[in-house]
């Protein structure tokens, strides 16, 4: 089992519930519980330890071109300090991983990976991809085990960082500052997250991780911040319709099917998977990720079958009872030929019984109301 640096501290906290997540054991929730933690992030602030995510640094004269080939988004357009979301695809257009890429400077990039994909991704980047012979020109350093990563999320996040001496007005959405002092600790900060709220991610050397986490928790107290676990992270991201690898994305799903075409820039230079994705677009994309809301009350879960009359048209990729909206809802990957419009009904098989659901707009939750 892998442990994050704060694992032992969390385990000692009152009423924490730990859970297995891939190779890691992580807090599912703290004493407040998932629903309160979720609410805290929507209304005030929440602090997540997301150190289980993978972190690598990629550097070299040709790093920009090399990454531009590996990623579907446009790396060449990036400026220093900027970060982008991107898919990393196989030649057949399915997804190796979805990542956040930071450009630190013209020759140095920083990439955040899904925890379950760290080894696979590094192997893909350095050995397995079709352009791997050019990998010798770049350096890939795995910082996953020497650094920690925290997400401070919610409408009060900026105010909390301001009290710790950070000028958050200078950190714009999807940008980062490489070296900021937070409570005496040297940190890389970016303004982004996985909750649908304003928020920041903080990257720090392991030696300073405890101090930084506790400082944020302490500074957040006056703003009703709660420490949050994986449970709230999942319901928050799903309300905001943010994909989770292994659910909405996988090596059997393409970005187009997951409705993430906006992050695929086929009009610019070549990238791995481009030919297959262009061809898929030309032939017609057969499946589509749609939002649904249950009409019959029941909790939909990943893997449940979706029917249109008697025809099996797909399956649920993620489902929940939305803590903010109080509805049972989720995402489903279904055949596009079913041609469903909003409010059209489908049936989801839950514990052997068909339950009615209707197609709805996503995201389920949008900051500032929708």
């Amino acid at each position: 089992m892998k442990k994050c640096v704060l694992h032992d501290m969390f385990e000692q906290m009152d009423n924490v519930r730990m859970t297995k997540f891939g190779e890691f054991e992580l807090p599912l929730h703290f004493s407040a519980g998932i629903l309160q933690e979720h609410r805290a992030v929507r209304e005030h602030a929440g602090l997540f330890d997301v150190s289980h995510m993978g972190r690598i640094r990629i550097s070299g004269e040709s790093a920009c071109e090399y990454l531009d080939y590996l990623l579907t988004n446009d790396v060449r357009k990036m400026i220093d300090g900027q970060l982008i979301y991107s898919l990393m695809c196989y030649p057949d257009g399915t997804v190796v991983d979805d990542v956040i890429l930071y450009r630190l400077d013209g020759k140095t990039f920083f990439m955040v990976l899904n925890s379950s994909n760290i080894e696979k991704d590094i192997s893909w980047i350095t050995l397995d991809n079709p352009h791997h012979e050019e990998a010798g020109l770049i350096t890939v350093e795995n910082l996953s085990e020497s650094t920690s990563q925290f997400a401070l999320q919610g409408p009060q996040s900026a105010s909390i960082l301001d009290t710790l001496g950070v000028d958050t007005s200078s950190i714009h959405r999807f940008s980062s500052l490489g070296s900021v002092s937070v409570s005496g600790v040297n940190v890389m900060i970016s303004r982004n997250g996985y909750t649908g709220e304003d928020g920041f991610e903080l990257y720090v050397d392991n030696k300073d991780a405890h101090h930084l986490y506790l400082s944020l928790l302490e500074a957040g107290r006056a703003f009703s911040l709660l420490p949050c676990g994986l449970g709230a992270r999942d319901t928050l991201r799903l309300e905001a319709r943010l994909p989770l690898y292994g659910h909405e994305l996988s090596d059997e799903i393409t970005p187009y099917e997951a409705n993430l075409g906006i992050f695929v820039k086929t009009e610019t230079t070549d990238f791995c998977g481009r030919t297959a994705l262009l061809s898929q677009k030309e032939k017609g994309i057969e499946r589509s990720l749609r939002g649904f809301e249950m009409i019959d009350q029941s909790v939909p879960r990943a893997g449940y079958k979706v029917f249109l009359q008697e025809e099996l048209i797909g399956k649920v990729t993620s489902g929940m009872k939305s803590p903010t909206l109080g509805i049972f809802c989720g995402l489903m990957l279904i055949t596009r030929s079913s041609n469903l419009k909003f409010n059209d009904s489908v049936e989801i098989e839950i514990h052997g019984k068909r339950k009615r659901a209707k197609v709805v707009k996503t995201p389920f939750y949008r900051r500032g109301g929708s």
């Binding site: 929730h29 998932i34 449970g231 909790v299 009872k321 514990h351």
Partner: protein, 127 residues
């Protein structure tokens, strides 16, 4: 963990049964609600349905996972606790005060074979 009420009987699947006249109330134990976490939905058996012992019937859904409920003794569903439809969290607040459903025409010998409180406590210690 809060106390295990002495007057109830228990199954190894962590359901409790309480007799009241010729009715048997069925709920889940504190151990079960603790393991589940925050309950967001309870799926009931149908009123009038005849249930076998150890039959998987209802489902309790917490924020993170679904958990099957195994009917502890044979009987016919007399009614379900509709209060939990709107407020499933009551199970977390006091699982012994909020039953899931009530059985009639139940099998008394199966009821007798369930664990009493002290045996259930001993059983919990082996987990």
């Amino acid at each position: 963990m809060s106390g295990i009420p002495g007057q109830l009987k228990y199954s190894k699947e962590h359901e409790w049964v309480r007799l009241d006249g010729n009715l048997a109330y069925v709920g889940i134990t504190d151990y079960a609600q603790e393991s589940l976490g925050e309950v967001v939905f309870v799926e009931f058996p149908e009123v009038g349905e005849q249930l076998e012992a150890d039959q998987e019937i209802a489902n309790i859904e917490s924020v993170k996972a679904a958990s099957a409920i195994y009917n502890p003794i044979r009987g016919t569903v007399d009614s379900v606790n509709e209060e939990l439809t709107d407020a499933p969290e009551l199970i977390n607040e006091d699982c012994y005060a909020h039953h899931l459903y009530i059985l009639k025409d139940f099998d008394m010998s199966q009821f007798e074979q369930l664990l009493d409180a002290s045996s259930y406590i001993e059983y919990l210690e082996t987990l």
